[in-house]
């Protein structure tokens, strides 16, 4: 058994609550601050400097997924528009099919793997892949799939095809739906 071919995944989800203030301060979102101050930095406009809020994050467990416990290609990938992460109407049937698969195989789970094309920048693409995977997870939640049945993973543009046609590039803007047998 080749160790390098193993994927590890969460088995035990330990809720780690880090210390900090419980009262989360209101602060303007990026959208709210977007309009003005388009030119240059004006330090006097920066407000609410002191209170970094507590973070509630769940640590990744040490559980393992064996490659042989993954089924790739049975469920179709969900495609996205350039720089977008909303689930298009035409793609929703694929998530419905994933839901039906889980109903028929209640012992299985899904790994939602987000991807981006190679244009843009690596770190931002990692975020975009993350957002796409979470959009798929959120849509599955809306149609009744329990959140614990899905794991998300972003690969950003790390596996993107670079010497392809624009059609091949659009194939990189996707979420793979991988079945986890355990």
């Amino acid at each position: 058994m080749n160790l390098s071919k193993k994927l590890f995944i969460v088995l035990a989800c330990t809720l780690v609550v880090f210390t900090g203030c419980l009262k989360k301060p209101q602060r303007p979102s990026v959208e709210q601050t977007m309009g003005g101050q388009g030119t240059g930095l004006n330090p006097s406009d920066v407000s609410g400097l002191t209170d970094a809020s507590a973070a509630t994050l769940t640590s990744r467990g040490d559980g393992v997924i064996e490659t042989e416990d993954m089924i790739k290609g049975l469920l179709k990938p969900v495609y996205f528009d350039f720089d977008k992460s909303n689930i298009k109407e035409g793609e929703r049937a694929k998530l419905q099919a994933a839901k039906e698969y889980l109903e028929q195989h209640p012992e299985h789970r899904l790994l939602l793997e987000g991807h981006a094309d190679w244009r843009g920048t690596a770190e931002y693409n990692l975020g975009l892949g993350d957002r796409r995977a979470n959009a798929a997870k959120s849509y599955l939640g809306k149609i009744g799939v329990t959140a614990t049945k899905n794991e998300t993973l972003s690969k950003g543009s790390l596996e993107a095809k670079e010497k392809g046609t624009s059609e091949e590039m659009s194939n990189d803007r996707r979420v793979e739906i991988i079945i986890l047998k355990k």
Partner: protein
């Protein structure tokens, strides 16, 4: 005022020795401004002579001449790992210094940095170190080397995707993102003295984009464990983690200001660049309206008024510099395909970036004032960061 006298675009296709780069036609841009300092450089040995010409050819403040230069700069080896530099102006020696290094090569770069300081007043950067990702083995791994890609050492052998190795301020550790072991993006810290690796952040979701503050006390990073990829910070020990941003927008690439008090990062929509206090709070959009896509900011430690970033320029990507004094941004790179992932060097004037084309990556040095662009080394390299020299 445009003062360029000459502009030569030298296409290096066919002159790059390494076959793995045969496909990449990056193009060195050899520009000489009228205010470039004319120098005669030489080394007492073939090795020193070659290094001296390579180094000063990459520095946009100089032009090399065979006679009549404002300065004559001579290098000679004077002992094990020790190089002497003499700077002569009008017949008199104005600098005569022995530089020690970890090797003759390293000592040469330190000596050359002293010569740069003496002749231009600029901080030297030749003795900087790079950390970068290369896929030369077929897999992404972390490497370190000197600025001209000499003395390169492979640090990881993980057979896993890896991103953005970044130096700790004292230069003894690297913090980076790897899919190593878990198959998920986690943040690790590598101690270069003993190659010991510890997990820094491993939460559900994506853990990426980690950078130390220049004072070494904090690490900023991007975590998606609470839903959207947001900016967080932690003490250098890793705990506790504080969330700094809160909105329904993908954030990436946090970078501290030189005094460690503020953070610049990229955020949707766009993305565009924002600055906030290093302890969170309101964000201020910056960028001067250059392009609909601005990402990967790098705040110069030598010149706190400058932030370099990557922007979309038509169908390509190029490097721009935001001047915080004026609020205006200016395109500075002329990459033949894409220019991405800028990192400032110690003079606040030159930077390195990744020249990117489909299937090809290389690091280049750019003088943001003259536009001179020279490729560093000939191995596939990207996602680099710079340390020193100190």
């Amino acid at each position: 005022m445009q003062k360029l006298l000459q502009l030569f675009l030298v296409l290096v296709l066919g002159t790059v020795a390494n076959q793995s780069f045969a496909a990449l036609d990056i193009g060195d841009v050899m520009v000489e401004g009228s205010n470039a300092i004319a120098i005669q450089v030489s080394g007492a040995s073939g090795e020193l002579d070659a290094m001296a010409h390579q180094a000063f050819a990459a520095h946009g403040a100089y032009r090399r001449v065979t006679s009549g230069g404002a300065f004559e700069i001579r290098f000679s080896s004077v002992g094990a790992n020790q190089v002497n530099v003499q700077v002569i102006k009008g017949g008199s020696v104005i600098l005569n210094q022995n530089a020690n290094g970890t090797s003759t090569r390293n000592a040469f770069y330190r000596a050359a940095d002293a010569a740069v300081k003496a002749t231009s007043g600029l901080n030297g950067f030749f003795a900087a170190k790079l950390a970068f990702i290369s896929n030369r083995t077929g897999k992404d791994e972390v490497y370190v080397g000197d600025l001209f890609m000499g003395e390169v050492k492979q640090i990881t052998r993980d057979n896993a995707f890896a991103l953005t190795p970044r130096w700790s301020p004292e230069g003894s550790r690297l913090i980076y993102t790897s899919y190593f072991k878990s198959g998920f993006p986690d943040i690790y810290l590598i101690n270069l003295a003993n190659n010991d690796r510890t997990k820094f952040a491993s939460f559900q979701g994506t853990n990426s984009g980690a950078r130390f503050s220049p004072n070494g006390l904090k690490v900023a990073m991007v975590l998606s464990g609470e839903g959207t990829p947001e900016i967080y910070s932690a003490p250098a020990s890793g705990k506790p983690v504080s969330r700094l941003t809160r909105s329904d927008a993908v954030k990436s690439s946090p970078c501290f200001s030189p005094d460690s008090s503020r953070i610049v990062y990229a955020s949707e929509p766009g993305p565009q660049l924002y600055i906030m206090s290093a302890s969170g709070g309101g964000s201020q959009r910056v960028g001067g309206g250059l392009g609909s896509y601005c990402a990967e900011p790098d705040w110069s430690r030598a010149d706190p008024s400058k932030i370099a970033f990557t922007f979309r320029d038509g169908s390509r990507f190029q490097i721009a510099v935001l001047d915080l004094k004026t609020g205006q941004s200016k395109k500075v790179s002329k990459a033949v395909y894409d220019g991405v992932e800028p990192n400032w060097l110690a003079d606040g004037r030159h930077l390195i970036y990744t020249a990117r084309a489909a299937g090809s990556r290389a690091l280049v040095i750019l003088d943001t004032e003259s536009g001179r662009t020279v490729r560093l080394g000939n191995i596939s390299a990207e996602k680099a960061s710079v340390w020193g020299p100190q």
